[in-house]
Symmetry: D2
């Protein structure tokens, strides 16, 4: 019922507030025997961390992840992996002015209505700082997916009106982090950086779009009705702070297309079934078909701005509010690892759900039982 | 794990194939005492039914709903409501040609890979016929929401390149069904109809956009992290056959905006907190703020077309496939009641989840216990 | 939230009232490719059916199961299996006398308090007739388990003070149905039948115990903390109408034992790890160890008796109530297939959950990927 | 799918191993505004803590609970409550001897089979140390239940063959902690203590029974089919380490009873419906009827004993194993707070689930909407 857990088979529960003692996550369902590379987790955290460049908030957090359980001698044991991230650089006194006032386009008012009480410091749990726990969990999901050759990569494709309009096949998706904007086209990246600096100078903020693609997908992942693979991706992306829209494959452009132009023909390639175009975005009937899964997520501009804005307080009095605390002029560069983390969590979950399903074997006419093998020396009765 | 159920507190499980004996749904969690208006359910079914106009598939289905349980003397009892819709006009022999071939941009291939077996007749469970069960359940959700003054209304706002570009406040949202296109602007509706007729004549299909708005929302619905109200709406909409994109509030347009233009100022109106603009789309931090919730869903063109298309069969042989059976040239008019049904299911679920939460009472400083009252004559120990 | 579904990976949702049009169940998660033997399902239904012997209620129900979906050409397709059981012999007029009165030790009062409305005819959903849907679903679970050599068998081991006190290894568990009491020891069965006939003649009812054993278990099923295999069995059994207690392995007798006597030594047998005694009941740390799983379920006497009893009505007036309608003097014989069905549902669920987990391979030091294989001709990228 | 979370509306996720850095729990769904009494939580932890008396293990753990989130200025905020308990007195070197050997009646073998890897130190996650996290979460559940006057109290009613045979109404249930055995009958407690000391001297262990009763119950809690209140209690209790049986109300004794003796007559008392006996154990049809809920849980003797025992190792070699490390001769005294904690978690969950249900109001003929009220100054549209 409450909404702080995600996934069914690879399931996470997160906790923590922006200015509380710590954030954390419990992963329940990580398969045993997986090498848990702490350096990789740290590197993923560094990609999301505040203060990593001049383009983002200057709050200083090392975001070190302490693994509390579920890992023994470097490998997952199949029991829950608890991970803890201490908050270090809280400056809660910056937030006294909003203890009873509602910041425009923040969650102050809705939390107050829903709960009757709120931790107003830094937005409490509504802060994007909460996503640190997701990135930690997503790093473990990425380690699992890498065993299967599955990779989710994201990049910044729009900031304000500056749009990167090249197909992803032409981009260096492994070099996304080379520029602080995380736009993999150098010329566009420069223009985006100039815009973000100008917006910051104005005390303003700006929106944008993160594009992503999942590659190396096996076919068969996703459930056909409500838990379509793209439906779960949509939920995952729309659950990221400040997101406003999601599209995959042909996206909103499909609305203007005819079926004769949109349909993807099947063909054989290296003994595999492939499609010769990919308007389907690698998913048909909610189930992956083995092609790439491209998708896009729109983000609104960050709500905290320097200018004075009209609002009301808890007693219904008119007030004005202006941004204090440390904030991002543009959330897009830091959204990239979060989009990847959420995509990895969805894919890891569906990977394990697919394992549970069991499957028909074309040759033996029987349900296969390979999912129930066991460690030595015991053999199951099969 | 499997994906044929939806919701947590107002939970549905659906079943049924396009050419099987019946479709059905079980609603588990409908509050007791609700008047179940069978005529209203039938009217909702009629809005989705095939053959309702010349613009849609001519399959003939009465789509009568038999209520099997959970209703006594016209009212819900709190036990599961089972609903059954018999299939009548299956013409399964139309589908022999795809028993082993994969129709382009259909789910034939992915079902075969995932399950190793498939009911190929009419697409089996991947057929949009499956949505009949959702509309039946959604009708019950609508009856519940109406008790709270909450209404979800949808309409067709784009077919191909024909776009309805008027704010919803100017439209007659209660008169959407007046035109078979379900576009509430008569002039645009005429142009859309002309286009759909032309597309059908070409043996082709066309995509479009359904717009929707939830009105009468109380504030406080939605869970703040993963189960944000708009995240659950996104999942619900992306779970509808052929959808390709979702946006709410300012949507993808937010990417080009600055915070100073995007932020919604708070103000008092009739002793209520309101926002003077609504780029937030009625949701802040994942929780409703009491304003309208506008959103849009993009649909791709239907995959079944008359022209011959290249494909492969189960053995990897090259084949050609062309559309037989009866299909919609444009799914948009029939998508309107489905969008409304899925929105109603999300809202009903969050309404009950909010009830479970309990809430702080501003005056008494204690958790309220009103959720645990009971029928006469017994009074709980409180 | 509502409680009419059971299981996570092999998940069922049930619906239906004793005197409504029908009962039913949706199985979501049955693996594809399983041969669905309709005769076997019918035979299981016949074991639970009323009127099968002189020892049970004489209500006449054929309990024919109509399969509505999820099966194609005799095999499961991986989509939900909907099953319908029409009610035939309702005599609802028998129940007018309890429309406003609370029958002692029935659920009339608690339903009224909880829901404020109730379908009083035959107890509505609180009737054991609801278990017909469980037996139908359990039959499918049994078909799946049989593929793995797993079998759950139950029998009547106590009626009133008549106790069958022989170890199950000495009993003919395949011949349980030979006697209408379902006690596999002929002499004890005769004594039980005599007692039940006497109790019926008195217009009274009598309790008892069903014993059961799961055989052919592979090791590794069950989750170690909350969802221990025996915890899920306990919940399943205590969810059957009229059950009052559950024990497994050494059971309540363990309370009087010392560790030195209770511990089960490990040994090798046919290259398998076995235990030389089985006080652990085949489960250690919540996980199956490959040995048999014996358990017992206590049932109270049926509440409906002929004698007049004191009670109150909905307005708080003192009333007397006496049993009308058709009821079982002893629920035990019919409880046997229900206990087996619920056990099968738990085991099928944990079988699939174990598949999802993935597992460490003792030789390759890597997580295995065999769960993500696919049908021909496509091969996943692994 | 994995089993380390419990509850639906008041939901916990636990993590941690016996000899890892820490144990912890996340509570998702605690209603906002609840005063979180840290001293009460600490007192509950002290009741479960090792080393509290000469009768239990002498491992030294302060079991201090650090609250990481979800509490602001002493009250719950409605966001997840993260709680951390650091391990202090690990002596992992005590466990080298079982790195590859299977201790009889422990979970060493089953973990190895299931996961192919295990943290053998102190039993890893299979250790009863894991229950510290449950007691911390249970303490919060108790604080919530106390707002409604609901209390779950447990005590030791059997150790070995020493049985406390007095009705609970005669016992001082508030004075259970007065004796280190937690048996509230002083004479029986003395005999139990003498037995436990003798067993310990023998290097052996002994089983027993914990009895419990829930008092102050409102009617209406529990879901009628699978999630019956007693079914969820059974699962909760059988999920505690070393439990072997569960019974409630008349329990196994009901098997020998006749309906005429077992039925509980209804009567009015102080304008409330009550039953004049309580064989139903306060639950009818799975739903609480407002009477006390008495239940009993059987525990086997602890598996770790000093004597040498036969076993095998991971390679299938015969070995002998004898108990090292620090262990309890009798788990019963420390099981008391765990039984109470698990009962509280079940009740808190069903309390919130009942709130979500909504309910019929006998006077207004409409579903009530009181669950969707909101904090000032906003009023929902109702």
């Amino acid at each position: 019922m409450p909404g702080n857990h995600f996934g069914q088979a690879f399931r996470i529960s997160t906790f923590g507030e922006s200015h509380g003692p710590a954030l954390g996550v419990v992963i329940d369902g990580c398969p045993p025997g997986l090498t848990i590379d702490a350096d990789f987790i740290a590197a993923e955290m560094a990609r999301r961390r505040p203060g990593q460049s001049a383009l983002v908030t200057q709050r200083k957090e090392g975001d070190a992840v302490e693994i509390l359980s579920g890992v023994f001698e470097g490998r997952s044991t199949g029991t829950p992996i608890g991970m803890l991230i201490r908050n270090a650089d809280q400056r809660s006194k910056d937030y006294g002015h909003i203890a009873r006032s509602y910041r425009p386009s923040h969650a102050d008012f809705t939390y107050q209505v829903k709960y009757g009480i709120r931790d107003y410091r830094g937005g409490g749990r509504s802060s994007a700082r909460e996503t640190a726990a997701r990135v930690a969990a997503g790093a473990v999901a990425k380690l699992l997916l890498a065993q299967y050759g599955i990779h989710a990569r994201a990049w910044v494709s729009q900031v304000g009106e500056i749009v990167l309009d090249r197909p992803y096949a032409e981009l260096d998706l492994d070099g996304v982090d080379a520029h602080p904007t995380r736009c993999p086209d150098p010329a566009t990246a420069e223009r985006m950086e100039t815009l973000i600096r100008a917006v910051r100078k104005d005390g303003d903020t700006i929106g944008g779009v993160v594009s992503a693609v999942v590659q190396g997908m096996p076919p068969g992942l996703g459930e056909p009705v409500f838990d379509k693979l793209h439906a779960d991706l949509a939920k995952a992306m729309m659950g990221i702070n400040a997101s406003r829209g999601f599209e995959y494959g042909s996206g909103f452009a499909a609305a203007a297309m005819r079926g004769s132009a949109h349909n993807d023909a099947f063909a054989m390639q290296d003994n595999n079934v492939v499609t010769t175009s990919n308007h389907s975005g690698g998913i048909q009937g909610g189930i992956s078909n083995g092609m790439d899964i491209p998708f896009r997520v729109a983000f609104k501009p960050v709500a905290t701005i320097v200018a004075e804005q009209d609002s009301v307080d808890q007693d219904g009095n008119a007030v004005t509010v202006s941004g204090k605390g440390r904030h991002d002029p543009c959330v897009l560069p830091r959204a990239v690892p979060i989009v990847e983390a959420m995509a990895a969590l969805v894919l890891a979950d569906h990977l394990l759900r697919y394992r549970a399903q069991g499957h028909y074997d074309g040759t033996s006419e029987e349900v296969q039982s390979d999912g129930v093998s066991s460690g030595p020396p015991q053999k199951p009765t099969e």
